[in-house]
């Protein structure tokens, strides 16, 4: 069943490629159908998932794939993968709906939708993969479609942004695959993640540290962590709305997911060694991203930089190596997916209405398109971590966790991080409200006074409502997510805790 969730989109893409180019309605309908079907599978998974055993892999498939290098087609989901999987499914559907009647230029729905479906396969696969090589393949599979999405349908500077995004990520994954192979040889000649988790601890410390470095490069660039983040603003700014939404909502999560799923459980020892540095980069990212935001003139770019800050919180949570921290991280991933995804949607809609995202030229959105304005306001508050909305549960527990990181980590170091991170929340409020004020408050600038601004229209409503509901629901009932992830996280941290108890 899980395989269906992975393969359905790509099959759909192939069929789509066969459909006539001219008949746009059919193309869109088909794409929507496929994504919905996939989401349907997702719903089935949600229902059939045994939450009592959310710590173990479920819906596992484990068949021979490449015996030569002893790599198997091994997939399965646990409490951590499930939410991410659902997230990517939902986002894709919404993106198809959103782009329903305004495809970016050059107008070529067929290619665009095919890419979107390919992307979904890649994302779903990554979240389900339980074999390093398989993971790698899916991890990379998302590169090409996103490259073309940015490069073909992007903004004026798209080619630069696209190739930059591509090169960065590829550089990371080149080192990552080396690390994977090192794991293969050091970890008992297998790429199977569960097996490696079982045996990973046996690898010598220095070796672990080296391998972890490789993995780190791979994942950190994807996250992206300071100082590997510079591809992100360009990619986001240039990408078409849907592209940035998927990029922000799901693709960035691949990196953090990699940390949680692979790096930490397999190499707990190295994780202990690296955690302080990861934490450092994380908090730098938090402050740095905030400063970056304050310096922006472009709405979308600002949101992009805010992602750097938010992922900083996620990484901080991970760096604590505690159950609290990593739960927070997973929550943060989902929350950021929903919220920042929303923000990019809005930025796109604003762009579409005003043909500019330049904050200084905008203003009085609340007067011209009240609903859009209020939604923006809502998302801003969600994004700055307002309690009662999803964002808070990503930030607060992360900060909480860094008060008392995993045993064996320097207390004072992480408490310093805690303080810095919490100051970061103020910055977050700063730049987001500043943006809100410039964009939504005040009155329209003269150049747009006359122009009629269409308020939210139907596809936008359909595409956004689920996200907004999700933000509120998760904000009020965080346990919706926590009770899924918790057990799985304890599995992740088990290695670290064993180390701690061994000390």
């Amino acid at each position: 069943m899980l395989s269906v969730a992975i393969l359905l989109p790509i099959i759909g893409a192939v069929v789509l490629a066969a459909l006539p180019k001219g008949r746009e309605e059919i193309l869109k309908a088909w794409a929507l159908l496929v994504t919905l079907a996939t989401a349907g599978v997702g719903v089935y998974l949600l229902v059939a998932f045994d939450y009592a055993k959310s710590g173990q892999l479920q819906f596992t498939v484990n068949t021979e794939w490449i015996p030569v290098i002893n790599s198997r087609y091994h997939i399965g989901i646990d409490g951590i993968s499930l939410p991410m999987l659902i997230l990517s499914m939902v986002i894709t559907v919404l993106c198809v709906i959103y782009s329903w009647d305004h495809f970016p230029e050059p107008h070529n729905p067929k290619a665009f939708l095919i890419l979107m479906l390919l992307l979904e396969t890649g994302m779903n696969g990554t979240f389900a993969a339980e074999d390093l090589i398989l993971f790698f393949v899916f991890f990379e599979l998302v590169l090409l479609p996103m490259y073309f999405m940015i490069g073909v349908w992007g903004g004026p500077n798209r080619q630069y942004a696209a190739i930059k995004f591509f090169l960065y990520t590829l550089f990371g994954s080149a080192l990552m695959i080396l690390a994977f192979l090192a794991l293969y040889f050091k970890g008992g000649e297998t790429f199977d993640i569960p097996l490696l988790i079982a045996q990973g601890g046996t690898i010598g410390h220095s070796t672990q540290v080296l391998i972890f470095a490789g993995l780190f490069m791979g994942f950190a660039i994807k996250v992206p962590m300071f100082p590997f983040h510079t591809w992100l603003p360009d990619a986001h700014t240039e990408a078409p709305t849907v592209g940035s939404v998927i990029l922000a909502a799901v693709l960035l999560k691949l990196g953090t997911y990699g940390f949680i799923r692979i790096a930490i459980p397999i190499l707990p020892d190295a994780a202990m060694t690296w955690a302080p540095w990861i934490g450092l980069l994380a908090v730098i990212g938090i402050i740095y991203g905030a400063l970056g935001c304050l310096a922006q003139k472009d709405m979308k770019r600002l949101i992009a930089f805010s992602s750097v800050a938010h992922m900083g919180f996620v990484m901080l949570g991970i760096a604590t190596l505690t159950s609290f921290g990593i739960n927070a991280a997973v929550f943060g991933m989902v929350a950021h997916g929903l919220i920042t995804g929303m923000l990019f949607f809005i930025a796109g809609s604003v762009q579409e209405r005003f043909n500019t995202r330049e904050i200084s030229r905008l203003g009085g959105l609340l007067l011209q398109a009240p609903r859009l304005g209020w939604v923006l306001g809502f998302c801003v508050f969600a994004s700055l971590g307002l309690p009662g909305l999803a964002g808070f549960w990503g930030e607060f527990p992360a900060i909480l966790a860094s008060y008392q990181p995993a045993q064996g980590l320097q207390l004072w170091v992480f408490r310093t991080y805690m303080v810095v991170a919490s100051i970061g929340t103020v910055f977050a409020a700063g730049y987001l409200l500043w943006m809100l004020q410039r964009v939504a408050f005040g009155t329209a600038k003269t150049e747009f006074e006359k122009s009629h601004i269409h308020d939210i229209h139907i596809p936008e409503y359909i595409a956004w409502t689920p996200l907004l509901l999700g933000i509120v629901a998760l904000g009020i009932f965080p346990s919706l997510l926590f009770h899924v992830t918790d057990k799985a996280v304890t599995v992740v941290t088990s290695g670290v805790t064993q180390l701690a108890s061994a000390r």
């Binding site: 505690t322 307002l386 309690p387 929340t425 004020q437």
Partner: protein
């Protein structure tokens, strides 16, 4: 009702959703929903009070909670903790909110975002109530942030003007800066209490010394940072005056009666931590008291030099909050809470009064008012009552609570008693000034003032009454069971009693009243008398001659006034105000601007040049390398051949040597 106190916040929450959804389509644009809901909540709150007071001794706090979420075996609960403090707050919040909403139907009439306004009020009330009933610090934090947002929305209600939205942002950011402290404090105490947010448990452990003093001190200090932000304590008070940009009812509800006292409430609620953290029990001075004391004086001084009536009230609010904080700082828990209680009434009254004035003259500036006595009698009388209550004239509400504070300070905190008295003096003085400038003399504005509509008048009257009698709850008059101090106690099950009561102390009382009266006297004398020579100056030279002596007399008078009062009031106050605007406020704004600037630099230099540059540089060098290497491809076959043979021979030699 005590068990189901969670209903009280829930109802306004629902009304918020309802108004948001259907408000615009309703006949009264959603106002009725809001008022109805809050009315119900108010009734329930009253029931709760009665039930609480009716409980037999010793009154055990009612606790109920359920698991909210659960991580790594730690389960975080959500629940309610109802005791005297809670019910008192419930009543105050619901009641003031009710009146304010009623008042707003008049005040906000025809506003373009009338419905949103009521929705926001409902949301605010809900969050505030939730904060009040919270039984754990996390939940409290949630409510705390939510009220902050509501205040943001309401301050910026008229966001068409940038000034307003900026004020809103300033308010939000300043408080949030404090909240960093709060959040960290909550976290510290969470771990200190063994991964537990529960407040009662926290108090118990704190008092019984189950938590190391160091941790407690840290936690308390951090929490207090949050308090300073929310309750506008020096030096984080700067946002409150700007917050006056919001509609006046909002100022009355949020920035006078309820939200700003959240800080005080927090201290009172988690008093155990502060008490042992700052070892208040040992007497002497401590952070809370100091900050409170400073705030009292500074704010009061600032209130002198304001022209904007709401600003006067704002500073007065700050100073009064200072009183409360100081009270808690000197261990006078009951007194502090009591002052919170009474202050809610008369300050709300004053704000609503000023609101009705502004409504009438379409200006905040007292320089454009004057002579309102005749034009707006209701407003005048109620305002007078409010001012006198604030000035602490017996037997009005303010007197009892303020006296209790000063009285409390007199036991081991004499310094702060002095502060309290000085504060009382200044309070009386600046209120008199305000009252004079507004209600006496000639009308200096251009509008045509008229009495406000009943929707606005009635709340004033009600509050007026309460400002008169509200304080009596603190006395034996109401009977022992109903006496405030009787059902309003800070007692933690399983921990020793830490708050001791102080009997009513006549000398202190008289003293405080005295300074109050002196304050009024001087101010009144200064403002009222000063008129005559000016008036006389208009007359002919003859008269001027005849007046010589009188004038001379008043030379003295003026001399005295100028010599003393001015030197006391103006320069100091002016200086204080200057410092306030340019130093403290400047710092706050400066921080904002500075951050933006650094951000710009960081972005332009570090991000775009250094980091991005490094990467692009790598690419560039690669390209350069390509260009250079291309030169080797000369296109001449014999060069290639030379390379072929040369390389072969070279490598040969190399290999031979190194193998």
């Amino acid at each position: 009702m005590l068990e189901n106190a969670w209903l009280i916040p829930l109802i306004p929450a629902i009304s918020f959703v309802v108004i948001l959804a259907f408000g615009k389509r309703l006949p009264a644009k959603g106002a009725e929903v809001g008022i109805g809901a809050i009315g119900v909540s108010f009734v329930l709150a009253m029931v709760a009070v009665v039930q609480w007071v009716g409980r037999d001794e010793p009154r055990e706090a009612v606790e109920r909670h359920l698991t909210w979420w659960k991580v790594g075996g730690v389960d975080i609960g959500a629940g309610i903790h109802v005791d005297g403090l809670t019910v008192m707050m419930l009543v105050v919040v619901t009641f003031i909110s009710l009146l304010v909403q009623v008042y707003s139907t008049g005040y906000m009439e025809g506003d373009r975002r009338y419905t949103y306004f009521f929705a926001a009020l409902s949301l605010f009330t809900a969050s505030m109530l939730m904060l009040v009933v919270a039984d754990n610090t996390l939940q409290l934090l949630v409510g705390w942030e939510l009220v902050g947002v509501c205040s943001f929305m309401l301050i910026g209600h008229w966001w068409e003007e940038e000034a307003n939205s900026s004020a809103a942002i300033k308010a939000f950011l300043t408080t949030r800066t404090g909240d960093v402290g709060l959040m960290l404090g909550v976290i510290t105490l969470f771990f200190a209490a063994g991964q537990n947010f529960d407040i009662a448990n926290l108090n118990r452990m704190a008092i019984n010394g189950d938590i190391s003093h160091g941790l407690l001190l840290t936690g308390a200090a951090l929490l207090f940072l949050g308090v300073m932000g929310k309750s506008a304590q020096f030096p984080l008070h700067v946002w409150l005056p700007d917050a006056m940009a919001g509609p006046t009812p909002v100022s009355a509800l949020i920035h006078a009666a309820t939200m700003v006292v959240a800080g005080v409430y927090l201290v009172a609620r988690i008093y155990g931590v502060f008490w042992s953290g700052f070892s208040i029990g040992d007497g002497g001075i401590n952070l809370i008291a100091i900050i409170g004391g400073i705030t009292v004086i500074i704010a009061a001084a600032l209130a002198f030099v304001q022209d904007d009536i709401k600003k006067v009230l704002a500073y007065s609010t700050i100073s009064q909050l200072g009183y409360m904080v100081m009270a808690l700082g000197v261990g006078a828990w009951t007194a502090g809470v009591f002052h919170l209680f009474t202050h809610a009434f008369f300050k709300a009254l004053l704000f609503l009064g000023s609101g009705s004035l502004i409504h009438a003259v379409h200006s905040n500036n007292m320089s454009e008012m004057g002579g309102m006595r005749k034009k707006m009698p209701t407003t005048f009388w109620t305002f007078m009552v409010g001012s006198m209550a604030l000035a602490g004239i017996p037997p009005l509400a303010g007197f009892w609570s303020k006296d209790e504070i000063i009285n409390g300070a007199s036991h081991g905190f004499e310094l702060f008693m002095v502060v309290g008295l000085l504060g009382a003096f200044m309070t009386a003085a600046y209120m008199t000034r305000a009252v004079y400038l507004v209600f006496f003399g000639e009308y200096r504005g251009h509008a045509h003032p008229h009495e406000s509509p009943p929707a606005m008048a009635w709340p004033l009257k009600i509050l007026g009454v309460l400002s008169v009698v509200g304080g009596l709850v603190g006395t034996a008059i109401v009977g022992d069971t109903w006496r405030f101090a009787h059902w309003m106690r800070f007692d933690v099950p399983g921990a020793k009693e830490i708050v001791e009561e102080h009997a009513f102390n006549l000398p202190v009382a008289t003293l405080s009243v005295a300074v109050g009266l002196i304050g009024i006297g001087i101010a009144a004398g200064y403002y009222l008398r000063n008129m005559f020579p000016r008036g006389a100056a208009e007359k002919s030279g003859l008269v001027r001659l005849g007046y010589k002596v009188l004038v001379n007399k008043y030379y003295l008078d003026n001399l005295y006034i100028d010599g003393i009062v001015r030197t006391i009031q103006y320069p100091i106050a002016k200086a204080a105000y200057w410092i306030n605007q340019n130093v403290i406020d400047g710092v706050v704004n400066g921080v904002g601007i500075g951050t933006r600037k650094t951000a710009q630099v960081v972005y332009d230099v570090v991000d775009q040049k250094v980091i991005d540059g490094a990467v692009n540089g790598a690419g560039f060098t690669a390209e350069e390398g390509g260009i250079v290497l291309r030169q080797t491809q000369t296109g001449r076959v014999q060069t290639y051949a030379a390379v072929l043979f040369g390389a072969s021979a070279l490598i040969a030699v190399g290999l031979v040597l190194f193998t």
